[in-house]
């Protein structure tokens, strides 16, 4: 396989690419080659330089030194448009479509064929239909992008890139908000692209996905090239070691913690259209995992428990006493903390500093007679950030300038400052790198040891299986399974999440 690939001319060759921002090296002599019909994974922790490398490929950045060769010919991209014209397309985690326009127009926006000044709508729909058919998806080109799922929106973006004759498609964490079936569908499309000679650069933090779809992998660490391997010849441990430069033995370090009293008890919680008749108990020192497909109502449940959108019926008991939680303030007063799924929108105030973010929920503590003791707040925020090893230029740095993993640490630091007795974590490690992930898991484990009751929603089964003492599975707004740590397997969880009996699911 590798030999035959090497006889071809690479679509793109990055040679000794360096790029620095205000004196800090983001990339240092990085190289990468991608051949036609190859799915090439790009792997590295957050801050390893993946995004910067991609941005030099798509013409967003100009490298300070080094060469980019396209089909063996050296070339400089003048900007994103230029790269696009040269056959380089990019699909990002968050699709950027026109929500008010239909699929066909999204594919053809800015270059609708015209006949004597008028848009030739028939040609627009024909071309869109062709592209969708080539990808083997049965989407109606008349549908508005607003009404599409994230996966469908990505498909539309892929169709758009293809209709621009993209020969290299860069996918930056495309799977991070997809369900398992959607990931499978995306992989089918990627394989099909590979067959037709299109090259794909695929970025994901989920290593199992790389094994499923990639031919080769290039690993970056701290802005430097570490190596390129054929996927068929490497093991997970090798990849992790290359990525973090050290051995990460136990990714899920959940320690046994003694179960305490029942901290939270939920009976028959219902919010129509979201979830129904949800009952469970959560103990001090316990990590209760909540598994299920996206859209199963897990996030809605978390939001209801935290009072953001309260349930319509059912009871919530904390330490055996029935409580009413109809707002986030009430939830916090009851000792709840909530780390939301979308840290950019709900977890952080991005334009504010790290310090301000951390002290946001506990500001009253630093206020006397309406006057804020800023110094004390800063000192505490600084200590909190240090405890969680937030990597930053200082606590005055703005949250939006941090990498995803460090942002998540800030969110966690913020909630830990409130000293919650019950902590709800919604996808606590989505989109963050292996190193930070291990740190977050370690932290969760420590908190449980200290007696905090943790409810953890996660779509990553290995995380659920590794971290939870007990696991609830939700499907279509109901709890459809409950497993103890010892008895849980991926197959059982998936079966409960998708309503297939375990032996049937093994056929897939």
């Amino acid at each position: 396989m590798t030999e035959d690939v090497n006889e071809q001319v690479p679509i793109i060759q990055m040679r000794d690419i360096s790029k620095s921002f205000s004196g800090v090296h983001a990339l240092k002599n990085v190289r990468m080659e991608v051949f036609p019909g190859e799915v090439h994974a790009l792997l590295g922790e957050n801050g390893a330089g993946k995004s910067t490398l991609i941005k030099t490929m798509t013409g967003v950045y100009q490298p300070d030194s080094g060469e980019i060769l396209l089909h063996g010919v050296p070339l400089r991209f003048s900007g994103p448009r230029h790269a696009q014209q040269q056959g380089i397309g990019a699909i990002y985690q968050e699709p950027s479509l026109f929500p008010d326009l239909d699929i066909a127009e999204n594919i053809m926006a800015g270059r609708q064929p015209t006949r004597s000044g008028r848009v030739d709508w028939r040609a627009v729909y024909r071309e869109a239909q062709n592209m969708l058919q080539q990808l083997g998806v049965g989407l109606d080109p008349h549908l508005k992008a607003r009404n599409l799922s994230v996966a469908q929106q990505q498909t539309v973006e892929i169709a758009r890139a293809l209709s621009l004759n993209a020969q290299l498609l860069i996918m930056d964490e495309p799977t991070s908000s997809l369900t398992l079936t959607e990931v499978e569908e995306l992989f089918r499309i990627i394989r099909q692209l590979r067959q037709s000679g299109t090259a794909v650069i695929f970025i994901s933090h989920r290593l199992e996905e790389l094994f499923a779809v990639a031919d080769r992998v290039t690993i970056l660490r701290d802005g430097q090239y570490v190596g390129t391997r054929a996927m068929s010849g490497v093991k997970t441990e090798d990849l992790i070691q290359m990525m973090v430069g050290r051995q990460v033995n136990e990714l899920f370090p959940k320690q046994e913690a003694p179960l305490g009293d029942t901290r939270l008890e939920v009976q028959g919680l219902t919010l129509s259209g979201k979830f129904a008749d949800v009952s469970f108990a959560l103990h001090a020192g316990e990590i209760l995992g909540v598994a299920g497909l996206i859209g199963a109502g897990r996030t809605d449940l978390a939001r209801a428990l935290f009072g953001i959108q309260p349930a319509q019926s059912g009871t919530i008991k904390i330490d055996g006493t029935a409580v009413e939680i109809r707002s986030a303030q009430q939830a916090m007063a009851q000792g709840l903390g909530f780390v939301p799924e979308d840290r950019q929108h709900h977890g952080l105030v991005l334009p504010m500093s790290i310090a301000d973010n951390i002290t946001l929920p506990i500001l009253p503590r630093y206020a006397s007679a309406g006057w804020l003791h800023a110094k004390k707040a800063k000192r505490d925020a600084s200590a909190a950030a240090q405890r969680l090893e937030v990597k930053s230029a200082g606590i005055a740095q703005k949250a939006k300038e941090l990498s995803g993993g460090n942002q998540q640490k800030v969110v966690l630091a913020k909630w830990l400052e409130t000293q919650p007795r019950i902590l709800i974590l919604d996808e606590p490690t989505r989109g963050i790198d292996v190193g930070t992930k291990a740190a977050v898991h370690q932290l969760m484990s420590n908190l449980a040891n200290q007696g905090v009751a943790i409810l953890m929603i996660s779509s990553e089964l290995p995380e659920i299986l590794g971290m939870s003492d007990r696991i609830l599975v939700m499907r279509e707004g109901r709890i459809t399974g409950e497993f103890m740590r010892a008895e849980a397997t991926q197959e059982k969880l998936m079966a409960a999440a998708t309503a297939v009996s375990p032996d049937k699911s093994e056929e897939n």
Partner: protein, 337 residues
């Protein structure tokens, strides 16, 4: 799909159909309103009244269509009323000074002046990076001030105007008053422009997602500039028709009219956050406002109620709109795939 699915399929599809034809709900509302008024005042249901309503809303339709294009790009043009005031004054002074000027030339002059005033808005917003609401709030005052400076506080009266100029809006050589025909023609032109030309589609794209538009190679800044020029041009055209219809040009001509154009657009389903809006919707929105105004006069209700009714309608429209949007999002989102 499983039987436990939370949403009722039937009500859902009916709901989607209704939303898809957003215009349908405005039509229903108009019919209801006409029904209520007709029950109170049977004299309401005449061709004559219908014609009067059309006459009253023609200028509004023309300017509101420009306003719609601006709003689709996530902007707003508050200066239209002052553009009307200034252009009406300048063109009227010109035709009084040169009575030989053909009415058509007066129209073209009005459009040109309007486009120039609109292009200042465009420059301030695109090159100056000033938010549209601030930029046009500024020119709203500046242009109104210029009306006073230009006219020296005087005004043009009916008797000073040449006959041809006065007939421009009101004559009806084709059966309907010209002003209504102008509105119909502009509506058709704008419809074709928005739905069948690339610059027209670019307006929607820019308003729907400016960043994606940029990446798709759509000239975002040029498109923004263009909508303010068009809005100014249509306001300039409206100015000449205004002066002709009311046979005067005064320092307070069209004062406060900008809010009516925004109202017509919003009531007509144009999303104030950009990205969507239709010609038919705006025409219906203007018609709804016109019907209410006319009905209130007919029923001899205080004109103060007119403003209140208009305000109420805007609020209802926006609330209904956002409720629809929220429900759509919920339907489109969870549990679907």
């Amino acid at each position: 799909m499983n039987t436990t699915a939370p949403t009722n399929q039937k009500s859902r599809s009916l709901f989607l159909t209704l939303v898809r034809f957003r215009e349908l709900s405005i039509i229903i509302f108009i019919l209801l309103l006409i029904g209520v008024v007709a029950l109170n005042t049977p004299a309401f249901l005449t061709i004559e009244n219908f014609r009067n309503i059309l006459l009253n809303i023609s200028i509004l339709v023309i300017v509101a269509l420009g306003q719609m294009m601006v709003i689709i790009t996530r902007g707003i043009d508050l200066s239209v009323s002052s553009i009307i005031g200034l252009v009406a004054m300048m063109v009227s002074f010109t035709v009084v000074a040169f009575p030989g000027v053909s009415p058509l030339a007066a129209l073209l002059l009005g459009m040109l002046l309007g486009a120039i005033l609109g292009s200042f808005n465009g420059v301030i917003i695109t090159a100056g990076k000033v938010p549209p609401i601030i930029a046009t709030l500024g020119t709203l005052s500046i242009y109104r001030g210029m009306v006073f400076l230009y006219s020296g506080g005087t005004w043009i009266n009916s008797f000073e105007m040449p006959d041809g100029y006065r007939a421009l809006a009101k004559a009806s050589p084709l059966g309907l008053p010209n002003i209504i025909l102008f509105a119909i023609a502009i509506a058709i032109i704008v419809y074709i422009f928005l739905n069948h030309t690339r610059p027209g589609r670019d307006i929607y794209a820019v308003g729907s997602n400016p960043d994606a538009a940029n990446v798709a190679g759509i000239p975002v800044q040029r498109t923004l500039f263009m909508v303010y020029v068009i809005s100014g041009l249509l306001a300039g055209l409206a100015a000449v028709l205004w002066a002709s219809r009311f046979e005067s040009a005064q320092t307070n001509t069209a004062l406060g009219f900008e809010l009516q154009t925004v109202a017509a657009a919003v009531v007509g389903g144009v999303n104030i956050f950009g990205g969507s809006g239709s010609v038919i919707g705006v025409v219906l929105g203007a018609f709804l406002l016109g019907t209410i105004d006319y009905a209130l006069i007919l029923m001899q209700i205080s004109p103060f109620w007119q403003l209140a009714a208009q305000g109420l309608l805007i609020l209802v429209a926006v609330i209904v709109d956002s409720a629809i949007r929220r429900r759509l999002q919920r339907l489109g989102g969870a549990g679907e795939f």
